[in-house]
């Protein structure tokens, strides 16, 4: 067992899923045996800025930061926490990409805008305001990825390289057992009318699945439940914009119409409904879209 590490968990806001995912780790007890806990704040109210200020600079070996950041107050807290920690993990989709909350940046809605402005800012991924050393993706992070983080970060003698993402560098498709038929994309289907065939690739059936552009390591559990991947683990390595990448993939699957008008391609791609909620469900705040600048309501 390496020297005891001083660790901390901080969830600025959010649904509580990230803290539960860590609590449910089978390696939790081992991790805690070998660590001192600086604090375990599952919501922002558990820890004041004064209390954080009193901690030694770089006194925390590893800080796991969950939840998105938005206004000045949460950015200031994130910066303060960064000063106190040698290493910071962006824990879960909200810290990694802004998460579902990030959709508020780009969907129309005066109420949303009011709320964001009152709080002093739009949703941002943690890496937009502080330097992030590691990423644990997922909403909430799936058990396999949590285990990998715990083992590599807390139980191993060597610390992982800065920049490690505790997920597969391959896409979700690598873990998906569905049969791939290479069908062209003739129409976009939605599965509320009838569930898809559970054995065939969803894209082959015309359902939008973000598996090809999303980091794997989750075991493709959503696909097993006959749901498409919605992209919670963020883009695969090297992909800048997850939503843009899936739209590009879809476009490449549409058969050419044979004329210069591109009528068929347009018909198929224009039929995608809620394109932002589909392609950027978790990653809008980290995307090239940034945020909506006028309301459009």
């Amino acid at each position: 067992m390496p020297n005891k590490k001083r660790l901390a968990f901080y969830a600025g806001s959010g649904c509580g899923g990230c803290s539960q995912s860590l609590m449910l780790s089978p390696s939790l007890a081992t991790m805690l045996d070998g660590a001192d806990i600086a604090f375990w704040a599952t919501r922002s109210g558990d820890l004041t800025e004064d209390e954080i200020s009193q901690l030694d600079d770089k006194g925390i070996d590893v800080l796991m930061f969950a939840g998105p950041v938005d206004g000045e107050a949460s950015i200031a807290t994130a910066k303060l926490l960064r000063r106190k920690a040698k290493r910071v993990v962006a824990y879960g989709a909200c810290a990694h990409l802004g998460g579902l909350c990030g959709l508020t940046n780009v969907i129309p809605g005066a109420k949303l805008r009011e709320l964001a402005e009152r709080n002093g800012g739009f949703i941002k991924p943690l890496s937009a305001v502080i330097e992030v050393d590691y990423v644990l993706p997922g909403c909430p992070p799936p058990q396999g990825m949590v285990e990998r983080m715990v083992k590599e970060l807390f139980l191993a003698d060597d610390v992982p390289d800065v920049g490690t993402v505790f997920a597969s560098s391959k896409g979700v498709c690598a873990q998906c057992d569905r049969k791939h038929l290479n069908n062209p994309l003739e129409e976009i289907r939605r599965f509320h009318a009838a569930p898809p065939d559970p054995d065939i690739c969803l894209l082959d059936q015309g359902y939008i699945c973000l598996g090809p552009v999303t980091r794997g390591g989750c075991g493709a559990v959503c696909l097993e439940a006959n749901r498409p991947c919605t992209g919670c683990a963020g883009p695969t390595a090297g992909v800048l914009d997850q939503g843009g990448a899936i739209l590009q993939s879809l476009a490449s699957l549409v058969p050419l119409s044979g004329d210069i008008s591109g009528e068929k391609e347009h018909r198929v791609l224009d039929s995608i409904q809620d394109i932002v909620g589909t392609a950027y469900k978790y990653s809008a705040a980290a995307s090239l879209l940034k945020r909506r600048v006028n309301d459009g309501e």
């Binding site: 509580g16 899923g17 803290s19 449910l24 809605g109 009152r118 949703i123 569930p195 959503c222």
Partner: protein, 435 residues
């Protein structure tokens, strides 16, 4: 502070306000967030709704998922096949079990002794066993819902896919173990927490809202909604769309209560054999139903842990692997209301869809909002009883009182809290802090 992340609606209660030396004016209220939630959901695909809403509160993700799915059934006028209903029910029971176990052992702060504060633990029921049970309950949620903390299987009209045979067998094995942990927890509670509950005299007469089955017994999933008055007389029984208007314009002389204590009061009894037997201990100690002692909600929750495990075992026994009739045809989309008896209390979702199945309006009536007046009434009584001085004991009682309602806004324990007293001009005159 309410962040702009309206999908994660957990309002962070960090302050209880007192005015004029005792009159409580507010605990928590987030009307802007509720309006913003509808704004957020507008334009989303109907079939994605259950994925969004379960991220509102991961402690009750199953309840949120299923309430959305039931509302969407109504939007499409769909009657899910029996096989789909059976999977959803089993999932609901697993969700209640997970929630209650987590609340009792990891999120509660009342009383003394034991890792839960309420359940006396010994070598037979160590923290390790409880964590193991929590993980296994999560595994059952994953088997039934397709994903551990945030289920995926529910869609309007049914479920996406059936359960494989070996997975079903595994879930049945786990369920039997979960019942054992529940029974040991209940025993541990009677050895420790029951006396603590008996000592807590704070009592708030309230109307009780719960879901009941055809026999009038408490349901931990679906059924008819029933409201009884503080004396236990029925006020209304109906489906969600019939009862919702009364709830939304509450004009009665006492607050409305939801959750385990309300279920105890509104129903004729627990729906399973062992839980019914265990309720006798509670009634022997605290008197007959209706019971308005706030702390009794903790006891009722422990009994429901057993009930949820019994229901889960029974529901899993009735599930058939490989059932192919799991989805009903859908009508044209429209408006729909759906309710689920969630772990924290009755949870109602309403959606209005356009002709393409895109959300136009969304509304969630959560146990937190329903219990707000009840929590405030309890805190006001407590402050009135405690006198003008706020002592450490008062603060602990405030924390325990709020905790007895298991609201979503205090997911962690022990939770920090500021108590602020304002003078007649609204200025903060005194402040206390509990961390």
């Amino acid at each position: 502070m309410m962040a702009s992340n309206v999908i994660c609606l957990l309002p962070h209660l960090d302050r209880v306000e007192l005015v004029n030396g005792g009159e409580l004016v507010a605990s928590v209220s987030v009307p802007q967030a509720r309006e913003a939630f509808s704004s957020y959901m507008r334009g989303r695909l109907a079939e994605d709704v259950p994925l969004y809403v379960q991220r509102i509160d991961a402690h009750c993700a199953v309840s949120q998922h299923l309430a959305a799915v039931r509302a969407l059934d109504a939007c499409y006028n769909a009657s899910p096949p029996k096989g789909a209903i059976a999977i959803r029910r089993a999932l609901a029971y697993a969700g209640v079990y997970y929630h209650h176990l987590e609340q009792l052992f990891f999120s509660r702060s009342s009383g003394d002794g034991g890792i839960a504060g309420l359940v006396r633990t010994d070598d037979e029921l160590a923290a390790h066993d409880v964590l193991q049970a929590l993980r296994r309950a999560r595994d059952v949620v994953e088997i039934l819902g397709g994903r551990g903390l945030t289920p995926e299987r529910g869609i309007p009209g049914g479920v996406t896919v059936g359960i494989a045979d070996e997975q079903l067998s595994r879930a049945r094995d786990i369920a039997s173990d979960l019942l054992g942990v529940a029974l040991r927890s209940e025993e541990g509670f009677r050895a420790g927490g029951a006396r603590w509950v008996e000592e807590q005299e704070l009592s708030v007469p309230a109307y009780s809202l719960a879901t009941v089955n055809d026999d009038g017994e408490a349901s931990l999933c679906d059924g008819m909604l029933r409201i009884v008055d503080p004396k236990g007389s029925e006020v209304i029984t109906g489906d969600a769309s019939q009862v919702l208007p009364m709830m939304m314009e509450w004009k009665e002389d006492a607050p409305l209560r939801v959750g385990p204590l309300a279920r105890l009061n509104a129903a004729s009894g627990a729906s399973t054999e062992q839980a019914r037997e265990l309720q006798k201990h509670l009634f022997d100690a605290l008197g007959t139903s209706p019971i308005h002692r706030v702390a009794a909600g903790n006891w009722a929750m422990v009994i429901e842990l057993v009930e949820a495990a019994e229901l889960l075992s029974s529901a899993l026994a009735g599930l058939a692997a490989g059932d192919s009739e799991l989805h009903a045809s859908l009508d044209e989309p429209g408006e729909g209301v759906g309710a689920i008896e969630g772990a924290r209390g009755t949870l109602i979702h309403r959606y209005l869809l356009d002709a393409e199945g895109i959300v136009q309006e969304a509304q969630i009536v959560s146990p937190d909002s329903l219990m707000e007046a009840d929590v405030n009434a309890a805190l006001s009584s407590l402050i009135a009883e405690s006198g003008p001085e706020v002592t450490d004991d008062t603060i602990e009682r405030i924390v325990n009182t709020i905790g007895s309602y298991q609201p979503a806004y205090v997911p962690s324990a022990p939770f920090s809290l500021r108590i602020v007293r304002r003078d007649a001009d609204g200025r903060v005159s005194q402040e206390w802090r509990r961390t």
